[in-house]
Assembly symmetry: C2
């Protein structure tokens, strides 16, 4: 039906006749001459209909936006002054000699020249995706998955599919359930990840596995999450953490080079402890130069209880962020930041402005100055490197609250003061604790199949709180791109971890009996990693939501305005499945 | 941890030291010298432990089947007479100089030297997959998907993901449902195919789409089906049936050449009518030389009502299969075939043996001979080309029964008489009817989005029964590899088809309103096809069940003996989903 794509026609085609199919992007009538921009996936080209060809002009006169047409014409240079150097097709135009309307279009319910509501965009997704920016994102995504696949296949990874209808996981509260017809009263769960299956594949000797795979989580979607999301899932045998990090770092470096011509260089590494201390985050954005500087040692004897209390508490923390140029902040702005840290549980935000430092303490302004000796303020100024015009913002509370609040404040200040440096700052975070304590109980920081680092099962049981895991997260610009670990391949160790996590023997047998059993049959050492594809593509395309890099995302209430899913089920079907509905959400 | 794969060590390594990781496939003790076959994904290699290295020998003595080990050793030629030319590693052996047991193995619950029950194989799938034949099938499958992706991406197809949580389809009875937590009382459905989404992607201008994607169908699994299966799903814009067939035929040809070094040649084409007439099947196995030869015209005046009845009925059919060498069939064997066609509703199976044809009707043996004049038997023998020693088997009944029964009989005879010729016989079946009549109602032979061939909406409504569709199926060795069609891109035509199918306007609006709406906005012509990946890989690997080319299939009752899915749900979860279980399947 066509000889080429619209977006491919450049000056090398001059003099040729081409036939194109596409959509009318814009139509202008300039004194009887009709111009249209004809659009397809590859781009747009300008077409001119001339009164010298009245039959074609007559058809062109009926064209409206988004009509689907087939056009034949002759490529010629644009008149002088009309060349658009920004466009591939900007040097030429096509004189239309034949025109067929394939399908008319009603007036679009979306106006591409203004913001449309998310609801409208999703309801008419097929029209929203016609916008070049959206089309290009999906094309980019397809190229990313192609490049990832090529890289991994060259490295001997096998693409192996794991089940979507599977068993509920320990974090079952967020599982989507699927009633079984043949086993009435029982349910499949949609996988939150193929974790156990990929481990089983390693035990089956598949050696190197990957899959670009849908995962599912029924959770709060406000934080730009989606009920179904896509992972680049990787697992290897006979490789340690170093080996997995090396392959996956090379993969991401290769991807950025291929797709964006960006050289990410070698990724630096940072321990979890250092990341939490300096940046208040386990996924620090290194483009942001602000750091948390600990000053508890200086505050132990000050009269100000807000500082000395946490400074003398083993679980407390006193830290300060120096904001260059921050002395200009108004009282109201400081109040806003105080409210901001309050979201994270901080009870206040002490501050010291540095204005004429040369004058000693006289150059400082602060409501808390009276509590701090010149010796202490000098030491703080020296440690933070504060200069005239800066502000120092203090966090003092339990370490948990301070780290979270000041970590969040650091990000906000970095944006507000426009401090971000550099375009891409990758990072490996390593040496995570095995467990975190929440309300007296231990939880796995990664998942219960993560191997501890250099410990026997007995040593781990003796001191679980201090144990580090063999886990690693890849972080880019403050976003966790992926995370993984060396897995436990020893049955005793796996039982020890379940027992530390308070998973009773019977529960462990019920939920993970097959894994424990599998570990008996010569299970090999294995390790892996999973990347969030949606987030990766979002970062690489500069989109602001993962919804903008998915073809058919759901709304924040997990609905699809296009197909109107979910919807009530046919009573016969519920009967077949032997379930009934107890309560309905009001419309 | 290793320098290479076990299966890669050939005579080019002689003299080198290698370190390998893998599993003990077999251990033999020959007068104090221990031999093991060490296995990994890539193959096996023979290792020798010699009494000259007693420390290593001592460890080797503890080895049992499926122990996971790390071995260091020196590659040397095998002694004369021990060379195995069948194996890549058959010319060498490794003298073990270092050996570490990574993980011991309990005695396997599966015995690889004998048949294991399907249940046991699936329960210990990770062990079943260690068998080289199974491992190689999964590796083959991964290479197939890689080759398909490369082919399609070179042709400009974009890999775009469509939702798994979606809306129930018209064939909703077989949908898996997923209760929504945020919209209590409502359900998502898992897709039986991404049909509507891929059509919407064409309307969004994505031009060429593909996806290797899981689909779901909650149906009887006895016929080697699985609740989740994988499609190679393809859709294109501005291409007609010819265009889609040409690309997808090239893809399959390329795949067979790359993977099996088989040249499939150009695929012949056959109309649906011819396939049903000559082979009694819409997916004829052309390796089978038997054909159905119609003889109704010869039977209209015979006295035998079993023949003359259907021969004079417009909806009847009288046909004959000539089986070379079939005259040797015993009465009991013929009775067995009679029972076989009975499964398909045939009330009998008349036969004529041809023994001394030269003698005329005297050379024929048959209980029905008395009803047939010599003129008629001569005509039948001429038309079927029957020779001495053949048998003619007759089907006479309604065309539906005869076609189905004789089509099935043809396949069975082809196998029983070992008649299959040639290894690979591809075929396109085209010119399907738009609709089939079942109990007076019209059903879509493909699906309701299939375009009729060369008809306006008015013409279609005037004579739906005679209409042909623009659909095409790719068949290989009697298996439907894939099917597709040109889709309807005109709103009037789509409404006409819905109305012919008896889908009321309101129902159409409820179920497909979004599709009808989308057709208003300059929808382009589009067409596509979907291949069954599991079936394709099964054929290519010579496996006898799709379960043997899937990593973790379900049983015929749609359960997973490995993870024990499906399983009862946590009551709190059901509460959150606002559903209750009415009835349980007894254990």
């Amino acid at each position: 039906m066509r000889t080429d794509y619209c977006g491919n026609i450049d000056s090398s085609y001059i003099g040729q006749e081409v036939t194109l199919c596409g959509w009318v992007n814009k139509r202008r009538d300039l004194g009887g001459v009709i111009f249209i921009d004809l659009r397809d996936r590859e781009g747009m080209v300008q077409v001119v209909f001339d009164p010298d060809l009245p039959d074609v002009l007559e058809v062109a006169n009926t064209l409206r936006g988004e009509f689907c047409v087939r056009l034949t014409g002759k490529v010629r240079p644009r008149p002088q002054g009309q060349v658009n150097a920004q466009m591939k097709t900007g040097e030429i135009e096509i004189l239309g000699t034949g025109l067929e309307v394939i399908n008319k279009s009603a007036v679009l319910p979306l106006d591409w020249n203004q913001e449309n509501s998310e609801e409208q965009r999703l309801r008419y997704r097929y029209l929203d995706l016609r916008r070049p920016v959206m089309s290009q994102r999906l094309q980019f995504r397809a190229k990313v998955t192609g490049a990832v696949r090529r890289f991994l296949e060259e490295q001997g990874f096998l693409d192996i599919e794991t089940p979507i209808l599977t068993k509920a996981t320990p974090e079952g509260a967020r599982d989507y359930l699927v009633p079984s017809r043949t086993h009435k009263g029982e349910f499949f769960a949609l996988p939150q990840s193929p974790q156990l299956f990929k481990q089983l594949l390693m035990m089956s000797g598949m050696d190197r596995y990957y899959q670009i795979v849908k995962c599912f989580r029924d959770e709060d979607l406000r934080a730009d999450r989606q009920p179904e999301f896509t992972q680049i899932d990787i697992e290897t045998t006979f490789l340690d953490a170093e080996g997995v990090m090396s392959i996956t770092e090379a993969m991401i470096r290769d991807l950025f080079k291929t797709m964006l011509d960006v050289d990410l260089g070698e990724f630096p590494r940072m321990t979890y402890a250092e990341a939490m201390q300096r940046y208040g985050s386990d996924k620090p954005d290194l483009r942001n130069p602000l750091e948390l500087v600990d000053v508890a040692d200086l505050m132990q004897s000050v009269e100000f209880k807000v500082f000395s209390g946490p400074a003398n508490d083993a679980k407390g923390r006193v830290t300060v962020i120096r904001v260059p140029g921050g002395a200009s902040l108004s009282r109201k702005q400081i109040d806003d930041y105080t409210r901001f840290v309050g979201i994270y549980g901080a009870k206040g935000l002490a501050w010291v402005k540095v204005n004429e430092k040369a004058k000693g303490q006289d150059g400082l302004q602060s409501p808390v100055l009276k509590f701090l000796s010149a010796e202490i303020t000098d030491a703080i100024i020296e440690r933070t490197g504060a200069q005239d015009g800066d502000i120092l913002l203090f966090g003092a509370d339990s370490a948990t609250v301070v780290t979270e609040a000041m970590g969040a404040l650091r990000l906000k200040l970095g944006n507000d003061f426009d401090l971000l440096e550099g375009e891409w700052r990758p990072l490996w975070v390593v040496d995570f604790p095995m467990f975190e304590e929440v309300d007296g109980a231990l939880h796995a920081l990664h998942h219960p199949f993560t191997s501890p680092r250099g410990l026997t099962a007995e040593e781990l049981k003796a001191n679980p709180v201090g144990a580090l895991s063999d886990a690693y997260d890849m972080v880019l610009n403050g976003v966790e791109l992926g995370g993984g670990s060396v897995r436990i391949h020893d049955q005793q160790m796996q039982s020890a971890v379940f027992s530390i996590l308070g998973i009773e023997e019977e529960e462990a047998r019920n939920k993970f009996g097959f894994l424990l059993e599998a570990l008996q049959f010569g299970a090999p050492p294995h390790a892996g990693l999973a990347f969030g594809l949606d987030r990766l593509v979002m970062l690489m395309t500069g989109a602001t939501s993962i919804r903008d890099v998915m073809a058919f995302p759901k709304t924040t209430t997990a609905a699809c305005p296009l197909t109107d899913a979910p919807s009530p089920a046919n009573p016969q079907q519920l009967d077949d499945l032997a379930i009934t509905v107890v309560k309905k959400t009001a419309e």
